[in-house]
């Protein structure tokens, strides 16, 4: 009974202490479709992704009701760094939803503007002043925001002198951002300012590549996507080398102990993911250490490295390929070693029975996808009369200069479609993730797609090649040759496609460069480079995040410069963040359900080549 009453009391007090306006809340997902475009237009770096931020402790004075309720300690503030721009997941600061929405746009404009140097107060003040002078339309919105926010701030008259000085300075900076301010002596943290950027955004400098795996790449996608987009404040610490002694199991029994790094090596029997994630939400800072023990998923990955004898069959000594270094803005020659391989255990096989009906239908459709017929004028025979030429001929005969054997017909000879298509499939370990009971794993969907697509292409009679790739650092980019352009599509190719297995990482740039080279050797008027992927480029050695994205972008740009048509199909729902940067606005398609991949792929091919 006490528990129940306590629960009610807790809820009641929390509700009374809460300052937000839940009814007027605007969520990030409501502005997310237009946020990246707006951010880029305001001058934000186009390579940055949109992420939601989590609360940080602001350390400012709270009202007594908030202290009783134990709330109001945290605030979600916006900022940007080299990887992304971070916005609060929802804004419910004001009672007017339109105002909350305007705050999102104001924060994006502020985050996109170049950050002037100086202390937090002056830097934000200057950025705000710059935004207001460059964007007069924002000024009206800014004034509304300030007018609504000022009454929410504490009264300087009721604060101790040092804090009151800060509060007055902030108020002045809000009202007149053009006026310079003196640097103030440190005081207790001022009341948080949601109209400005984060005073101390979490930095990335500690992120070591060896453990900074993208969670989407290595783990199954069981958790809600929204969670994964959140960013936690993290610090990297050195793992305690002492033996565990008697203390074998550490139990996270209360959140208070979570908050500090305890020099106890936690073993792999962790709480449920949900509990850990919920606790992570509440923490100020996550401590990450390199640990010999790993969670189930990662352990499985490490064991996935095959012994040499069991590995795929390498073809030749491998090729050296360049890679783009975005920090130096240059191409580093011979940086990656690409190893063409044939899948091990590939035995000739027929198309699986379950795919037969669909394959038959696709073959019919693609056979009907008649090669382009173009009208040819001036033929000496043909089904239609070329009226234009007949008139010209009559006129010329009148004038006495007519040709003796004019071509007066139009013909529709079957045009020769001169098209080559190279399909490059991502075979990294992330494709092992489960997409549904019927479809199985992403890799199964990719395998079926390749099989069906190959059936369709061979029916259409276009020249095509099928390849797959994965990578383990720059020394080993594995390039699976499933069907070379010169090879026929037959049971041995089908066997190779059936033998593909997921493994390792996604060093996309090198694989694209090699594919471009192969495609460039094909004698065709149009050359299509189709990439099937399930996530961002990533690898163990610095190839995650920005580096991988920029290298891939360069590889795509090179391909485009060479006259190829790169196009990407992805099942990654976050692809909207980075794919426009890689492939351009019209260069990609996000397949919402992996199961739809085969049909989208074939339909897309018909569209692209029509």
């Amino acid at each position: 009974m006490e528990d129940i009453v306590g629960g009610w009391w807790d809820k009641l007090v929390q509700r009374a202490a809460y300052r937000g306006h839940r009814a007027a809340a605007v969520r990030l997902e409501q502005v997310a479709p237009i946020a990246p475009v707006f951010f880029r237009a305001m001058g934000g770096d186009p390579a940055l992704a949109l992420r939601s931020t989590v609360g940080t402790e602001h350390g400012a004075r709270r009202r007594w009701l908030e202290r009783i309720a134990g709330t109001g300690e945290r605030v979600e503030l916006a900022w940007s760094d080299q990887q992304a721009f971070y916005l609060p997941e929802k804004i419910e600061l004001f009672a007017d939803a339109a105002l909350n929405r305007e705050l999102y746009f104001w924060l994006m404009a502020l985050a996109a503007s170049t950050r002037p140097a100086g202390d937090w107060l002056n830097a934000n003040r200057q950025a705000a002043a710059a935004c207001l002078s460059a964007m007069p339309g924002l000024a009206a919105s800014y004034q509304r925001l300030v007018a609504a926010h000022l009454p929410q701030r504490p009264d300087p008259a009721r604060l101790p002198p040092a804090e009151a000085a800060w509060e007055r300075a902030i108020r002045q900076a809000l009202l007149q951002p053009q006026q310079a301010l003196d640097t103030l002596p440190p005081a207790r943290a001022p009341y948080p300012l949601p109209l400005w950027l984060h005073p101390a955004p979490p930095t990335l400098e500690h992120t070591a590549p060896s453990t900074a795996q993208d969670p989407q790449q290595s783990g199954p996608r069981s958790k809600p996507q929204q969670r994964q987009r959140r960013r936690y404040r993290a610090q990297r610490v050195v793992q305690d080398e002492r033996k565990n002694g008697m203390l074998m199991i550490f139990r996270a029994e209360s959140l208070f102990t979570w908050d500090e790094y305890v020099k106890v090596n936690r073993h792999t029997d962790e709480d449920d993911d949900d509990n850990a994630a919920a606790a992570a939400e509440d923490m100020n800072r996550l401590s990450l250490a390199q640990d010999a023990h790993t969670k189930g998923g990662k352990l499985k990955f490490d064991l996935d490295l095959p012994a040499a004898a069991w590995d795929d069959t390498p073809l030749g000594p491998g090729l050296l390929l360049p890679e783009w270094n975005w920090k130096q803005q240059r191409l580093v020659d011979d940086h990656c070693r690409l190893q063409p391989m044939l899948p091990r255990d590939a035995v000739p096989a027929a198309l699986p029975a379950r795919l037969l009906p669909l394959a038959r239908r696709l073959r019919r459709q693609f056979q009907a996808l008649a090669p382009e017929r173009t009208r040819k004028s001036g033929q000496e025979c043909g089904p239609d009369i070329d009226i234009d030429r007949v008139i010209r001929f009559m006129a010329e005969r009148h004038s006495g200069v007519a040709q003796s054997e004019p071509g007066l017909y139009q013909a529709w000879p079957p045009g020769e479609r001169s098209l080559a298509c190279l399909t490059l499939a991502d075979l990294s370990l992330s494709t092992e993730s489960w997409v549904g009971d019927e479809a199985g794993r992403v890799i199964d969907v990719i395998r079926d797609s390749l099989l069906l697509f190959a059936e369709a292409l061979s029916a259409a009679g276009d020249s095509f090649g099928l390849y797959g790739f994965s990578s383990i650092r720059r020394q080993e980019v594995r390039f699976q040759v499933l069907k070379d352009f010169a090879e026929r599509y037959d049971d041995s190719t089908r066997g190779r496609i059936l033998a593909i297995r997921p493994g390792y990482y996604t060093r996309m740039g090198a694989a694209i460069r090699q594919s471009s080279r192969i495609l460039l050797q094909q004698p065709a008027a149009r050359r299509l480079l189709l990439i099937i992927s399930d996530g961002k480029p990533n690898d163990l050695d610095h190839y995650e995040g920005r580096h991988g994205i920029e290298d891939t972008r360069q590889a795509i740009l090179e391909a485009r410069r060479d006259g190829l048509l790169p196009f990407c199909l992805t099942v990654d729902r976050e692809a909207g963040d980075y794919l426009p940067h890689l492939f351009g606005h019209r260069g990609y398609v996000v397949v919402q359900q992996a199961q739809m991949l085969p049909s989208v792929l074939t339909r897309l091919y018909a569209q692209l080549t029509a």
Binding site: A35, P136, G137, R392
Partner: protein
Amino acid sequence: MNAPLRPELSAPFYQAQGDECQLFEAAWQQQLPVLIKGPTGCGKTRFVAHMAARLGLPLITVSCHDDLSAADLVGRHLIGDGQTVWCDGPLTRAVRQGGICYLDEVVEARKDTTVVLHPLTDDRRILPIERTGEVLLAPPGFMLVVSYNPGYQHVLKTLKPSTRQRFVAMSFDFPSAEVEQQVVMQESGLAAAQAQQLVTLAGQLRRLSGYDLDESVSTRLLVYAAKLMASGMRPALACRTALAEPLSDEPDTVAALLAIIHTQFPA
């Protein structure tokens, strides 16, 4: 109601961005054909019209399309009253008159059509007319100008290198903010402050080309927006009509463009 058409009395307004006018004049004096590259609506056509008026030359403009045949350029026989009449095409007319023949978006024309330009673009400067057996020698005043938009480049639609190599080429781009503001004010009569906001907006929108938009916003569209604003239309609505809607069909992108427009002109 539209104002009645008036013949141009002076050279059409063109705000130079660099030394392109001198370059063009030098090419004309040296009897060299000119190729102008640049994005849609950046002022290529206006530049040629301006130069033709400045040099006092007749200007014949042909908008190229994929059905444009050599006969369309050179000319054809027509029948009338029981007899045939030879009718010059625009190219022949320009050669005979000694004016500028301007082929707009020349990549759109069929490859076999552009070949008729070849003898005109080298030192022979001749136009053989097969049908009448004539060979026209271009007078000193004649000049061939072609333009195309490299942004449109399509695998199938690009100028053959052998054709491209016969021209001296100039690259055009959108004018600098100051020049563009001048152009907008001059063309629309809009006040300086609003013209400046429009040009800043154009700068913001041009950051999106290649990412979210296929094409940049052109100076021409800016002038349209400015004209609507000068006529008394609400600026945000004018920009929506003249900028956001023509630039994209996708609802999300249009919504984002509106948000960007509102940073300059509140709703």
